[in-house]
């Protein structure tokens, strides 16, 4: 059981602001619909109109964020595992089965979520916004454009409201289907989600796989290293030995250029060796700056305590996929990466521990997604040729 950083700061801000605004719009909107009396009609109208503008501003920021971070790709619909996901909600969940889809860094939504969220983004919310602003500004004449009657927009607007309300009910309920009933909500507040070891391993393997693919794409076909990568990749894809394959020296060099960082820390916690990627990720200028320093300096106190437990296990001989962790860079800024740690054994004794880090910050996500797509296309072309 570990915590993994899933939701970025803006994402959480946006989510909760949106939740607040939709809640306010909902409460005031149904009062305007004369479903009940609560705030008073005039207050309801004023608050509703103000919230509409707040929502619009939020939407503009959210669109910007989705496109600049590449997060919009999270919403590309997929048919893969849709049936599995439905089966899970209908039966599997009662039998204590695991979620059929894992929360991966660049694929944090299950196929149903992708579909529903995309529907909200491109259908329900635009309909609400457009009908809402028509309702607000174009039902009186003398403004150039006017609606013949409010009836049509009112029907669209109310229809959208019912859909949203139903969504909120189901959405809130489904937050309880996480690892623990409140895990999902806690994750949406703090950004860190509790996940079981299996999921974390899956995330790790996935990251390695991506790193391997990336490395592979940097070598032209026919060059010697390709074979090493192919075997590593097939190992990784089998979901076993992904970590052990990283330990191969030749391989280690090969993947360094793909941005996978390597470190080796002595038994008592002092850096012995790091590669160039590691230095880049931590924003150091040279090896000298970090070698001999204690690894404590690159962790928050809280994370350090947790990491120490993992290290203790490694020093007993285990190999650990630590999942996602937060690093403190030289300049004090934060970054996120997946981490794997394994013991270094010399003459039958554990003298140090080493591992790989794969960056998971936003910029990489978009790159990875693009790459995946490119590789898929290449694969298809290959299949066609054959």
């Amino acid at each position: 059981m570990k915590k993994v950083y899933v939701y970025k700061i803006f994402e959480r801000f946006w989510h909760w602001m949106q939740a607040l605004v939709i809640l306010v719009l909902m409460v005031t909107g149904f009062e305007i619909h004369s479903t009940y009396n609560l705030l008073g009609y005039q207050t309801a109208v004023n608050v509703h109109n103000f919230s509409a503008w707040a929502f619009l501003v939020l939407i503009v920021f959210a669109i910007f964020w989705h496109f600049t971070t590449g997060e919009w790709r999270q919403y590309i619909p997929t048919t893969k595992l849709v049936k599995a996901q439905i089966d899970y909600y209908l039966t599997g969940i009662f039998k204590g089965a695991h979620h059929p889809t894992k929360k991966l860094v660049y694929n944090k939504f299950n196929p149903l979520q992708r579909m529903i969220y995309l529907g909200l983004k491109i259908l329900v919310i635009p309909v609400q916004v457009i009908s809402g602003f028509l309702y607000l500004y174009f039902h009186y004449p003398l403004k150039g454009l006017e609606l013949d009657s409010l009836q049509t927009v009112a029907i669209f607007h109310t229809f959208g409201a019912f859909l949203l309300l139903a969504f909120v009910v189901v959405h809130v309920y489904l937050t309880t289907t996480g690892h623990k009933p409140l895990s999902a909500i806690k994750a949406m507040v703090t950004g860190w989600e509790e996940m079981d070891d299996e999921t974390i391993h899956e995330r790790m393997v996935d990251d390695i796989e991506i790193a391997l693919l990336k490395t592979k794409s940097q070598y032209k076909a026919g060059e010697g290293k390709s074979e090493i990568l192919d075997s590593a990749l097939s190992k990784a894809q089998e979901k076993v030995g992904a970590v052990s394959c990283l330990k191969d020296n030749k391989f280690r060099d090969a993947i360094a250029s793909s941005g996978v960082g390597y470190f080796c820390i002595s038994k008592d916690g002092y850096y012995r060796e790091v590669n160039d990627s590691w230095i880049n990720l931590y924003r150091y200028d040279s090896q000298e700056e970090i070698i001999g320093k204690h690894y404590r300096l690159s962790r928050t106190d809280e994370d350090f305590a947790e990491l120490e437990k993992s290290v203790a296990r490694v020093l007993k001989g285990e190999t650990i996929n630590h999942g996602e962790v937060k690093r403190i860079c030289k300049d004090g800024s934060f970054g996120y990466h997946t981490l794997t740690i394994a013991p270094v054994v010399t003459n039958g004794k554990i003298i140090a521990f080493e591992g790989f880090i794969i960056d998971t910050t936003d910029k990489l996500l978009a790159e990875k997604e693009l790459l995946k797509k490119k590789l898929r296309v290449e694969e298809k072309l290959k299949n066609k040729k054959n």
């Binding site: 619909h33 009609y41 004023n46 608050v47 009910v169």
Partner: protein, 530 residues
Amino acid sequence: MRKQISLILLLALFSLILNAQETTEDSVSSKIKVNNYVWKADRDLTNQANHSSFEILNQEFGSAHEVTEACLSCHTKRGEEIMATSHWNWQRSEMLAGKGVVPLGKKNILNNFCIGVSGSEGTCMRCHIGYGWKDKSFDFKDPKNIDCLVCHDNSGTYKKKKGGAGYPDESVDLGFVSQNVGLPKRENCGVCHFWGGGGNNVKHGDMEIALLDCSRNVDVHMTVEGEDMSCVDCHKTEKHKMTGKLYALSSENKDRATCAECHTGAPHQNETLNDHNTRVACQTCHIPIYAKVNSTKMIWDWSTAGILDEEGNPKHESDADGNHNYLSIKGNFVYNDHVIPEYYWFNGLANHQLITDKIDTIPLQMNTLYGSYKDKGRNQQSTEPSKIWPVKVHRGKQVYDTENMTLIQPKLWSKNKGDSAYWMDFDWNLANKAGMDYLNLPYSGKYDFVKTEMYWPLNHMVSPKEQALSCKDCHTRNNGRLASLTDFYLPGRDKNNYLDGFGIVLLALAFFGVLIHGSIRMVVSKKNKN
């Protein structure tokens, strides 16, 4: 980071609340912004000439005409001005849809109160600003016939004689009155405009003697507690031509006195309220009830008139409030006070049932008010969109010719019995014939009574803003003020039943689906633990 987020969230909430309160903050006592208006405190009342010092007025006047001559000897062109007005002519050119331009006014129009003046001038012309209009022979060209005093008397002692065709009562000291003249006061206008239809507040419902000395609750403009405004403060007048019109008599959208003249088209701080003014008249919200002090006549049934007591004398019966509910000369009445207006779309254009027009709808509309939701000012002659107006509807039942299918102008009044006047002889056939003969119009000899409606858009008795209608008076599911205006979608009133039904089913599915799913999960997980 987390602190920042919660700070932003708090700020957002705060601004929501502030925004909502913004509109309720301005206090009652603060002076509202107005244009084209001089506040009472800033008015200079000292420049009115003291007429008692004028020699020409220090005389024993032999007749009322001599007073007029004295006035016109100084106010030389004013006679011509007044003789061009509808106060003098009791008619003007009006464009009526389907009928073209017709001369129209109190002189020839029919209503569903006392029906019309023709043949009864002797009594009706007590409200004409002239002397001696007793029949068709009246000379509208003679300035000596103008009654300056009825409007300009500031002494409060002038009055016209009952049945005197506009001449003053013998008790009036013309010299004293002529020395005490000035701008018309509420009393001057009120003597006719409050008493139309034969009693106080009978016709308008929003104009009556209570306005002479009323509280703020009755009328915010005229109240002595406030600005104490007179009629002419709003009914601005140039060359004796007064603005403001009555759709009981007019049909065109011109020469109107409007709220916006002083209050502008956007007087509210709240934009949504200002937007409402595009389709809702100010009066609709700001005159929530009328007849706030004395009752006004709502129904007049002429068909029951003519029942005399055992001695053959006309009867007078009153209701519990002291209002007539039966008069032998007029029939049955229903009065009411604190009346909630009816609401109509109105674009400023009206039509009128002329005495020559055929009766084709029942109830017959005496003065159709034009307008609809769809009328946005483009397809009609009016350039402005129709607005929702508060209207007093006076419902009547009055005499008509069953053969010619036209309304009838009966002769009602005479000083003497045997002149065919209904109020003396109680014979409809005679009265109808005499009245129609007087107008040179046909009468078949067969009559009955037809239901009629007359529309009086309300303008006066503006309530304090705290008493103005609030959103829920109209934006409410059932029994709202606008329940009868069904030609448009009104938020809060209207809904699509299928859609709401679908919504409820959808929500029920979501709720119960979640409930059932959740319960099963809980039961299963307990079992698993055990």
